[in-house]
Subunit: 221 residues, 2 copies
DNA sequence: TTAAAAGTTTAGACAAAACTAAATAATCTT
DNA sequence: AAGATTATTTAGTTTTGTCTAAACTTTTAA
């Protein structure tokens, strides 16, 4: 698997997880920041290698081998993100770009030793689950803030959009993974939400609310 | 700088350090495990980019920019080797191949944070000096075991040949960096050397002796 | 001091991964 | 259900880094 091929597999993997339909050429082109014709070429190559199944004009899906490979790349990406944040003190908006490079290093031993060194972390700095050696992924159940219920209390467990700008916004407002958040008020007019955490009250836009993942706190007290 | 270009710069750097003459096309081809014609092509590209100066049929030398870049790659390589050995418990014969990949990760921040995380190590697991942020290299003075004097005591500070086989040989014979070694006898017939360390006596071949670097211990006692 | 040998470069091809422009298939509209 | 729109594929180029074979320098040696 070349670097380019791995990036395509990863992109297909992400798109499959988002929509459950076959992945369209255009969607892939958008995700890969490239042209549809380039995507067609690459898809053919991946189909040759039995990494995807592909019917012209119908879209593409990962084969078992393709998914296994994509998961390995995702595992490496997320482990390196943890390393960068926890060991090298990168901030969470900086880890992604470097991890994009590190995820392509080929060495099973390196990956597994790194996993061990980090203490077998379950999630990366954005709250996404880290696949284990065998490719098993423990799904975390989560609700977006925009779906949370007024009056209830939640813990922040992840972000949907891990763009640098969004993460910097959260940093600036002192929201991080693990922050306990109460839903004070949901405004139907513009879908903004007033929340409270660490004695701070804050109104966040619909856009922010959609991109912040929470988990309800069991309220037996 | 692409991956291929970086590898050429590194190879030229190593060859320059070995012989002080201009680097010949054939020597580079040998080092890069490729054909002379490919080397000529690449050299032209590097000359275009002012990374080397090149006179056809005369060989090639690194420019200031080229050397600076090569040193950066070497710095990354050696830092990653330390990381793999000290943090991830790789053995010293395993670190090289993975470091060959990691040395091409592009992030000044990563490199410098890694350096800090490792406590600013001065040498890599093979005893080679690690350039600092500014590209300065602190040369270690060392003698090969084949040049050592009978009767004197030395410390092992490095290896010339970092091939897996040689390192495994040293491991099997319990020689590592830091091992204190006495020169018992130099056999003129085959240039083998009888040494003593940790109460073990061992005869090593000329080949081994040439590839083991030592530093004399000041003997005021 | 030339002829042979060794070393190096040029010319022409190829594979990977991208692109543009043109052609073709699928879907939407009315 | 036909035409218009959108999505996708094909055909033909480009760039990077490699290769082989042929041509050309430089060095060696008689």
């Amino acid at each position: 698997m070349t670097l380019a091929e791995e990036n395509y597999l990863k992109a297909i993997y992400h798109l499959e997880n988002q929509s459950s339909n076959d992945v369209s050429t255009n969607a892939l082109a958008e995700e890969m920041q490239t042209k549809a014709s380039s995507v067609t070429d690459m898809i053919k190559k991946l189909a040759e290698k039995n990494m995807v199944s592909y019917i012209p004009y119908q879209g593409v899906t990962l084969s078992k081998a393709g998914r296994a490979h994509a998961v390995k790349v995702v595992r490496k990406h997320r482990l390196w993100e943890v390393f960068l944040l926890e060991k090298l003190n990168f901030s969470w908006d900086e880890v992604h770009d470097v991890a994009e490079q590190l995820e392509h290093i080929k060495s099973e031993k390196l990956t597994d030793k790194l996993d061990e060194f980090l203490g077998f972390p379950k999630v990366d700095p954005h709250g996404d689950p880290i696949p284990d050696q065998h490719g098993n992924i423990e799904q975390i159940d989560k609700t977006s803030l925009s779906d949370a219920q007024e009056g209830l209390t939640y813990v922040c467990v992840g972000v949907h959009d891990s763009s640098s700008d969004f993460l910097k916004y959260l940093d600036a407002n002192h929201i991080s993974l693990g922050t306990t958040i109460q839903i004070i008020h949901k405004e139907p007019f513009d879908n903004s939400v007033k929340i409270k955490f660490n004695a701070i009250e804050l109104v966040v836009s619909e856009n922010v609310a959609k991109n912040l993942f929470l988990q309800e706190v069991s309220h037996n007290s």
